[in-house]
Symmetry: C2
Subunit: 245 residues, 2 copies
């Protein structure tokens, strides 16, 4: 046997997958750019040169360059070369990599960004909610109150609550961005939990905050909804130890 079939069954999704060679190339070049070792407008070595330098085939280099291009880090011009993207070149994608979530200060920054987006979402939701919106949100609130499982169900209902608010705001871009941020943060927080796992009294306090948000939206008071979700997210930060109370 291949001595790994059993292990493969246990974890269908490997924690880290450093398979593809092009991943390493992407990382190396991106680091060079972000560290300022190459400047916007500079030309990178030719694909052939990179191929020799990294000791991989040109195919791998091309895939790496292609991916760096979709990230808006470089642009390639046929017949000329590959250039580091200049400001205003067309970064149509907003990316958050591991470097953005591994430090605590970066996590706080992402949280502040989230506060801005979600407070607007709550305000819009309060202004645009329909009767059925309110009832569906109340249903999720019920799942949150069931103080049974503090984890699993708890966090699942929590993200559902925030997501539903974004849906009620009737703004697809906000919904997409809330989804994006919630994924990035969930991953980062899960990783950070390894260090200090303080989540006592979590659901208790958080529930009251959720009720406040719900009531503001039910009433249809945008400003109050904004304030309520802001308070909730600030409290969430302190609970995670990102903010000293």
């Amino acid at each position: 046997m291949t001595r790994r079939t059993a292990a493969a069954k246990i974890r269908a999704k490997p924690i880290i997958r450093p398979n593809r060679l092009s991943d390493r190339i992407v990382e190396a070049i991106r680091d060079d750019v972000e560290a300022g070792r190459v400047s916007p407008g500079d030309r990178l070595p030719t694909e052939a040169a990179l191929s020799a330098a990294f000791d991989v085939s040109r195919t791998v280099i091309r895939e790496a360059v292609s991916r760096l291009q979709t990230e808006g880090i470089v642009v390639s011009r046929r017949g000329s070369g590959v250039y580091v993207a200049k400001a205003g070149d067309a970064p149509r994608t907003f990316r958050m990599g591991p470097a953005d979530t591994e430090e605590m200060v970066s996590l706080r920054e992402i949280f502040e960004l989230r506060i801005g987006v979600e407070s607007e979402a709550a305000a819009l939701a309060a202004a645009r909610r329909s009767r059925s919106d309110v009832s569906s949100l109340r249903k999720i609130l019920g799942r949150l109150s069931a103080g049974g499982r503090p984890l699993e169900i708890g966090v699942e209902a929590d993200v559902a609550f925030h997501r539903r608010i974004a849906e009620i705001s009737q703004n697809r871009q906000i919904l997409r961005f809330v989804d994006f941020l919630s994924f990035v943060l969930a991953e980062a927080i899960r990783a950070a939990r390894a260090n200090s796992a303080k989540q006592e009294g979590w659901s208790g306090m958080a529930y009251g905050e959720h009720v406040a948000i719900f009531e503001a939206i039910e009433t249809g008071d945008p400003e109050q909804a904004r304030q309520a979700i802001r308070q909730h997210l600030i409290q969430a930060q302190t609970r995670l130890g990102l903010l000293q109370s």
Copy 2:
């Protein structure tokens, strides 16, 4: 001559560049996914099959798949196939394509997202500004007041003003996202201008709004800064015809 050197000098950056074949493949597959013609978890045709279907080499298919992967739309498993990404698979990038900016309603949605982010940026800036921050911001305000050029200088100073506020907020993620949104919006607005170009009295009213934002930050009043920039951006929307006054 190649009959294009003159034209090439005029526009170094072609408006649209449908060169790379893989672009078409990326678009086609992404459309299929976003339109729901294939569901999360589904397996795509093999690279060989796609190669035959689109009548391109497998190289092109591979580059397209590679790029779709960095966008978080698909995941590939060696020896198995390429699958449509399931929720929670790892979309580390947030993307806005042409489809997100071509409709007016989508533009309004992006503006609302911007209001959320920038109002938070303004509040943080008011809380964290230093003396030198205030003076640098005042300098940009000066450039805005110089009622000379309504365009060119005007919009350049305008984006600089908003960007400086994001810098003062001391939040790199917010700064990056403001940059991202300002680029996307600038491009979209430039395109929309073709239809109705109403920008009379633009700089006049906007200048007063900018002053209000500046004074709130100078005073150090987060809530007032938030309100001021929100009002400014709402007004900007009406000036662009995105909102009926």
